[in-house]
Amino acid sequence: MNLEERDLVIIGGGPAGLAAAISAWEAGCRDILLVERDRVLGGILNQCIHDGFGLHTFNEALSGPEYAARYIEKLRNTGVEVLEQTMVLHLGEDRVLHLASRGTYRTLRARGVILAMGCRERPRGAISIPGTRPSGVFTAGAAQHLMNLENIMVGNRVCILGSGDIGLIMARRMTLEGASVEGVFEILPYSSGLPRNIQQCLNDYDIPLYLGTTVQKIHGSRRLEGVTVAQVGPDRCPLAGSERYVPCDTLLLSVGLIPENELSREASIPLDPRTNGPLVDSSFMTRVPGIFACGNVLHVHDLVDYVSQEAEEAGRFAAAWSCAAARSSANSLSVIPGEGIRYTLPQKISSSESTTLSLRVAAPWRNRSIVVREKEKIVARKSLVRLHPAEMIRIALDAKSLLGVHELEVILQ
């Protein structure tokens, strides 16, 4: 088949793809193709009609579509070519891509590729809730899509499993549309959503949050009729005698997000089992030369502002690689998550450039410090009053402090 040659192809037109495309253009790359599978750009932001986006970037509380519009307008002033309603069906290690759209199937080879596919929701199977499989069980994001983009109501009496942000947002959304939300059930002893969402989406509407509680069984042979909830012990197993039946016709699952790395796997890109995203260096290049990654496909972010920032950096690096053919071979050093740290990113950084580490702690803490060190040598330290796995922490590393360093460890102190 005919192979079309392109400088830079960006997969995904959500917040990461948009910011990466703009920054790659601004960095001087003039042959950029942005591929989006939906009808319009913006990705998941389009269904996020609540506000709170852009506080860091624009000092404003924007809705999802408004936040996306800022980037889409900017993109329209560039020469970036946008292919909407187009799905990438194949990505090879050789950066050959197969694209399908209405009436067109094309193959092309790119000098550089940016993965910006985002993430998907963890389905019921992955958390194995026993019971029947009736209609009325939705992932929270699918319910959000149906309600906000298709104008379809998903149910009237609702239970929500998992206190991830989308679940919390949907608790409020469904209440506002007249549904009765019976409660949000979270297996962990703490919520996995942002504290401001607990306040604004649950507390303000008197929706109960049951911590250390899970849905143990699903009932109903056709439409959902109810769920059995139970408290769990420290081993997360249900405690006998704590079971309670909650009648409901709808169960929303907000039980985690999985970076969508099917194409990355196809391209033989090694993934980090902690982030479920590609291993990257400080230029956001994966272990496959010329393929970069940013946004939720790399690691799940809690704020879109951080996605945009990360993608801007990735876009610059990818532009330099693809267009100036400037293949940097700077000295690189590994960054390893140590005690109390769930993951750090990038996993490899250049020792000759300043960079910013993103990380998450493994459990909630108060008054602790994040220390970046090599053995006794401390490269950076950040003290925080409140540390929470739901909130991503970013630490700036100065190039000067990295002189002579070979491997960094990040720990909680």
């Binding site: 029947t132 899509h145 149906l146 104008n151």
Partner: protein, 512 residues
């Protein structure tokens, strides 16, 4: 449950149904599972009027869609039994049949593995039994030979069976039904038999809405409900004991790791064949099935203990399995004739009832019912001969139109050609399984009238991937509402009771 108000024969209701216009068939088949549909397709070769009645809104909504999808070779069954005979014959017929019907099948073979001396003797016994049944190519392999077929299997010896394989069970059932339909068979879906009465002129089948059909010959292929159907005509000889098997479906990431079917050596009185790994024709791997008797013939629920047990089993076999590799659990029910206290298996019952001329009764068609279906169909056809004149039609269409390979399974060149030919092939609806809009539209215009999400799923694989419909459900809903004019309330999983949506969020301009 569904059939709570049973009216036995012997107290026939003489009423208005006699006055209504009742369609008269030569043969009516009760149940549109793989067996009922195979019989329907076989009978559609002949100049007969044949109808199939099914209580669900689509074919293959019961046991036929909830099993391992294994094509058995036939060495597990006692020589001389119907199961042995029909399985070996069905196995032989299956590949050419699937070719004509464009159903996915793969003869990947099977290793039955022995862990110790005692089990090795069991393998010898199985081999002899298989040979007596006419199973070709059976061989006892040592560990080294076994490892050339499947590296890493633990065991001292194995029985290799090259004619074992896998087939798409719902794909086969749907294709058989479509082929029968194409050759003139009528399908009455959502048509639940409520009572059957018999007169000299034939059988009257009435559904719960009071509609009536008449037939000279009735074939009971009602699976889990076959004992209830039999009781409607006064046959009280049988009770079926539903025996549940739970499964996990594993992510396609593991595709290719399992080269063949691997079973433990069978244990006495096990109602199943032991928990094992089964690759599917679509590239997933199934772990299961468990075997537990239940009360209800439609209790497809999964239990915490068994799921945990299956997960453990999975992790033993694939140490790097992560939580997200378990994409779905499901359960199926075996219609067993052997009660719990007896255990094990009994033979199939296939009888042309002498006491009720024209009533052909199939009972206890559990494993290997899928493999046996084509042979069962021929056996039943020969019984129909006792009651009707079987004259072959001038034109019987053997093949189904369409392609075996889905868009996702096609090569880049084939995909490009498909997209060029029909632009709807370029629109991907289900991202995990790469199902196109063309394929969704084809499913929705199926001659059987598939309209539920489950019908679309079994025809296209949409929602069967790792995100389990998170992405494509809204897209399919969009096609149904915006392009085909459905109201949200009309969209359901399997029937009107399993509706998805209570309605719109807000009133839409010009919407229904």
């Amino acid at each position: 449950m569904i059939l709570s108000k049973l009216v036995d024969l012997g107290q026939p209701e003489v009423g208005e149904y006699r006055v209504k216009k009742t369609k008269h068939y030569d043969v009516l088949i009760v149940g549109a599972g793989v067996v009922g549909c195979a019989i329907a397709r076989e009978l559609s070769r002949y100049a007969l009027s044949v109808g199939v009645v099914e209580k669900e809104r689509d074919v293959s909504f019961g046991t036929s869609s909830r099993n391992s999808g294994v094509l058995h070779a036939g060495f597990n069954y006692a020589p001389g039994s119907l199961r042995a005979k029909l399985d070996v014959e069905g196995n032989r017929l299956m590949e050419p049949l699937c070719g004509k019907l464009k159903v996915k099948i793969s003869k990947i073979g099977k290793l039955t593995v022995a862990l110790n001396e005692e089990e090795c003797r069991e393998l010898e016994r199985l081999k002899e039994q298989g040979e007596a049944n006419g199973v070709p190519g059976l061989e006892i392999l040592d560990a080294a030979e076994m490892h050339t077929i499947q590296p890493g299997v633990e065991g001292v010896k194995a029985l290799w069976s090259p004619t074992s394989g896998i087939v798409c069970p719902y794909g086969l059932t749907i294709a058989l039904a479509r082929s029968a339909r194409q050759n003139g068979t009528d399908f009455y879906l959502s048509w639940e038999v409520a009572r059957i009465s018999r007169e000299d002129s034939g059988f009257f089948l009435e559904n719960s809405q009071g509609e009536e059909l008449k037939a000279s010959v009735v074939i009971n292929a009602a699976g889990l409900f076959a004992d209830r159907i039999a009781r409607m005509v006064g046959i009280r000889d049988y009770t079926l004991y539903p025996c549940r098997g739970e499964y996990y479906v594993l992510d396609k990431r593991l595709q290719g790791t399992l080269k063949t079917l691997i079973y433990p050596a069978p244990r006495k009185n096990d109602p199943g064949l032991g928990i094992h790994l089964t690759p599917t024709v679509d590239g997933n791997i199934l772990i299961g099935p468990s075997a537990e008797y239940t009360e209800l013939p439609e209790d497809w629920s999964c239990s915490a203990e068994i799921l945990e047990n299956l997960r453990q089993k999975g992790r033993e076999l694939f140490p790097d399995l992560s939580a997200s590799d378990f994409i779905r659990s499901f359960a199926g029910l075996r219609p067993k004739l052997a009660p719990p206290e007896e255990g094990g298996n009994r033979d199939f019952v296939v009888e042309d009832r002498k006491d009720l001329p024209g009533f052909i009764n199939l009972m206890g068609i559990e494993s290997p019912g899928l493999t046996s279906a084509p042979a069962l169909a021929i056996m039943v056809r020969d019984m129909v001969k006792n009651h009707c004149d079987l004259k072959e039609k001038d034109l019987f269409i053997e093949e189904l139109p369409g392609r075996t390979k889905s868009f996702a399974e096609s090569s880049p060149e084939e995909r490009a050609a498909l997209v060029a030919e029909d632009p709807d092939y370029g629109e991907i609806v289900c991202r995990c399984e790469q199902v196109t809009k063309r394929e969704i539209l084809d499913a929705l215009s199926d001659p059987l009238g598939a309209r539920t999400l489950m019908s679309v799923k079994y025809r296209t694989r949409a929602t069967m991937g790792r995100c389990q419909g998170g992405f494509c459900l809204p897209k399919i809903v969009n096609i149904l509402t915006r392009e085909l004019g459905y109201s949200p309330e009309e969209i359901s999983l399997r029937d009107e009771k399993s509706f998805f949506f209570p309605g719109r969020v807000r009133k839409e301009e010009g919407s229904r």
